[in-house]
Symmetry: C2
Subunit: 177 residues, 2 copies
């Protein structure tokens, strides 16, 4: 399948569910894509094709849907896998960065030995919306001295302008709404 | 690397952290293994070798560390990937099963269209402890009419007896404490 056909096939496997998790929100549900063997393979392969041939030390993925795409990407690239986690999940010494939600703040954590100084990393999540979690992940990685090769998302909700929070970085998104 | 050498190498990459998340608990931290390119590859390949050659329709993984191993397994087997999630994360119509914790109960959810009747599935998580989450996942899959080919874990804490809750099922664990 050529690359354009893959995008179209993937988009047809993403289900839109209105009013989840809150009234007025259109939730883009990737579970029909993940459960489809061809869809899942095509989605992972889009990420692989974007980064193969570049030296990548670690794939850093954001809890929890980022793991579903980032882990197979790390495996295919021969890279290590690093989870960025929600508070209280990581047992070792760690860094914490907060980000703003519509009401209040939340935070993300990374082990302080997860990535070495100068190591080349790719950041993966399923969705780029406001960019808050991706930008917080970027700040965690900068504190560790990582070189961020790029941010990659399956979906981008363009009207939310998340790209502006990641200015200066390479950003890839395969399905845009 | 032969299979036995792989087990030994993996065990050396699992870090034990005392008193996490509660005093008296020895937490088996797999993040050093995941971030190591060879360790991550070996760990995924152990799961792949266990199931390759058998027809597997979907790999079902338990939130959240199960996704880190289950997603690359699904990719390698050419299967679909199905996340079992904690409450409130899945947007579609779903089934819920509760399980007992030391204090109180928690529950896990699966979309009701995640697996079709008679489909062959493998259940993946990082750790088999008391078996409560794995058994709840098994009940969710039985409600969908799935055929559970096996449960597979990177680590088994044998003294907690989790196998007894999965009686009658094929169980694989690669590192046992």
């Amino acid at each position: 399948m050529d690359r354009t056909a893959a995008y179209v096939a993937l988009e047809s496997l993403i289900r839109t569910i209105p009013d989840f998790p809150l009234p007025g929100i259109l939730f883009r549900d990737i579970t029909p894509l993940l459960k489809d063997p061809s869809g899942f393979r095509e989605a992972v392969d889009l990420f692989v094709h974007r980064f193969e041939g570049e030296p990548i030390d670690r794939v850093v993925a954001i809890e929890a849907r980022g793991y579903m795409l980032g882990a197979p990407l790390a495996y295919r690239l021969g890279a290590g896998f690093v989870p960025v986690r929600k508070p209280g999940k990581l047992p070792g010494t760690k860094h914490v960065e907060s980000y703003t939600l519509e009401y209040g703040t939340n935070s993300l954590e990374i082990h302080d030995d997860a990535v070495g100084h100068g190591e080349r990393v790719v950041v993966v999540d399923d969705l780029l919306a406001t960019g808050g979690t991706a930008a917080a992940t970027g700040r965690l990685l900068e504190r560790l001295g990582a070189r961020i090769v790029g941010f990659a998302f399956l979906i981008e909700l363009t009207e939310l302008g998340g790209r502006s929070l990641l200015r200066g970085h390479d950003i890839t998104a395969f399905v845009r709404y």
